[in-house]
Amino acid sequence: MLTKRIIPCLDVKDNRVVKGVNFLNLRDAGDPVELGKRYSDTGADELVFLDITATIRSRKTIVDLVEKVAENVFIPFTVGGGIQTVEHFDTLLRSGAEKVSVNTAAVNNPSLLSQAAERFGNQCVVLAIDARRSTKNPGRWQVCVKAGTEPTDIDVVQWAIEAEKLGAGEILLTSMDADGTQAGYDNQLNKAVTEAVNIPVIASGGAGNLDHLYDAIVDGGADAVLMASITHFGNYTINEMKEHLKKRGIPVNL
């Protein structure tokens, strides 16, 4: 049986892993290569590296980082942040990334998803969605772009459905409302998206304790759970997360 994945997320800024609350107030969490290796050695199923500055200068840095990570880490990892073109996909996949995630560029140019899927296969193409509860339409969520700074009128669930049709092979779904709060994932959001699409969904934003992971999988229908604060700052080990899920009947790679 396919196991549910535990995915630490490393937000990278100026070659350091950082973590904030609701995308603000960043704290330093260490060196990305060392932290990636540590997670890989202690049982993480996968890693996500997000270049949260995503400038032209940082793109070169992220390629160097991907190469260094790939020399030391033998589990899959996804890279995202500022990806604009199929050529960026190509560079990062060649450098050793397994998957590439796109957010703003796919909103601006949805055909990027189909172009990338046709060339690399849809399993390489991750659509990242930063979702915020809509003030205009209660019970709905709006897509935010540019690292969460710019809300759009696009409905999250509709966008997820369209992205699947275009060729996205996975959705990395971050609740901006829950991000960094450690108060639990937004499982209404997770459920709305997992019920609407047939590709894997990674729940992100809000993990604070072990039951939150279980809830995202069972109540939210997530195929994988992503976390940062609770693992970077030493609250729980990957093994503790997996043991807990296993005890509650969730299949894990342990």
């Binding site: 199923d45 790939a70 033998f74 996949l93 397994e98 690399f120 399993q123 996975e170 047939n198 195929d223």
Partner: protein, 203 residues
């Protein structure tokens, strides 16, 4: 020397990194003379099938010749799918035809791609799995699977609402649908087992 076939598509380097990490010399190359001189060949691949076939170009014939002459060959993910006769991904494309069978879509009704760590039942007579016990988790990421029709092929399966072939072995030809280079220690062990088979064949 193991040669990892460089055919200009994603992720070939990860396989080289993995060999290097476990202290095995592997060279990335598309040079026919190096391919002919190699003790064993690895055909990796992260790409759509049609794109991979096109990228392989004339190397196809060299690979077929090498495999038929008895040189050990390990296909990984799309490289594994290329071992079969054909695929229906984005149109119908011919593969290398070294193993009988077609690459077809995973039937609808489950989450696709099949992505993540799944448990593979390991037959004890398949050489890639030496020393790995009865079952282990490996990392998969694919939407198509090989429907193996070759009586000479040994098959290891994983369960994803049906039994998906996860690995095949036919004489000197090996393949894994999953990514050994991304499957932690058990994946690295597979690369080591393949290399040991190459050493035995060449000694």
């Amino acid at each position: 020397m193991i040669v990892v076939i460089d055919y200009n598509i994603g992720n070939v380097k990860s396989v080289c990194n993995a060999f290097k990490y476990i202290g095995i010399e592997a060279k990335l190359s598309s040079d026919p003379s190096q391919i002919k001189a190699a003790k064993g060949l690895v055909l990796p691949g992260v790409a759509a099938f049609g794109y991979a076939v096109k990228a392989l170009g004339n190397l196809s014939e060299i690979l077929i010749e090498a495999a038929e002459s008895g040189k050990p060959l390990l296909g990984i993910c799309v490289g594994y799918q290329l071992l079969f006769e054909q695929s229906t991904e984005h149109g119908i494309h011919s593969g290398l035809g070294l193993i009988k069978g077609s690459v077809i879509p995973i039937p609808k009704g489950t989450v696709i791609p099949h992505m993540g760590w799944n448990l593979v039942e390991l037959p004890n007579d398949m050489k890639l799995f030496d020393g790995l016990g009865d079952r282990k988790h490996f990392y998969f990421a694919h939407s198509y699977f090989a429907d193996v029709k070759d009586e000479q092929a040994k098959i290891a399966y994983t369960d994803y609402s049906f039994q998906i072939p996860a690995s095949v072995e036919k004489k000197n030809i090996f393949g894994t649908q999953f990514h050994p280079e991304k499957s932690g220690p058990q994946g690295l062990r597979i690369l080591k087992n393949f290399t040991e088979f190459c050493e035995r064949q060449n000694s």
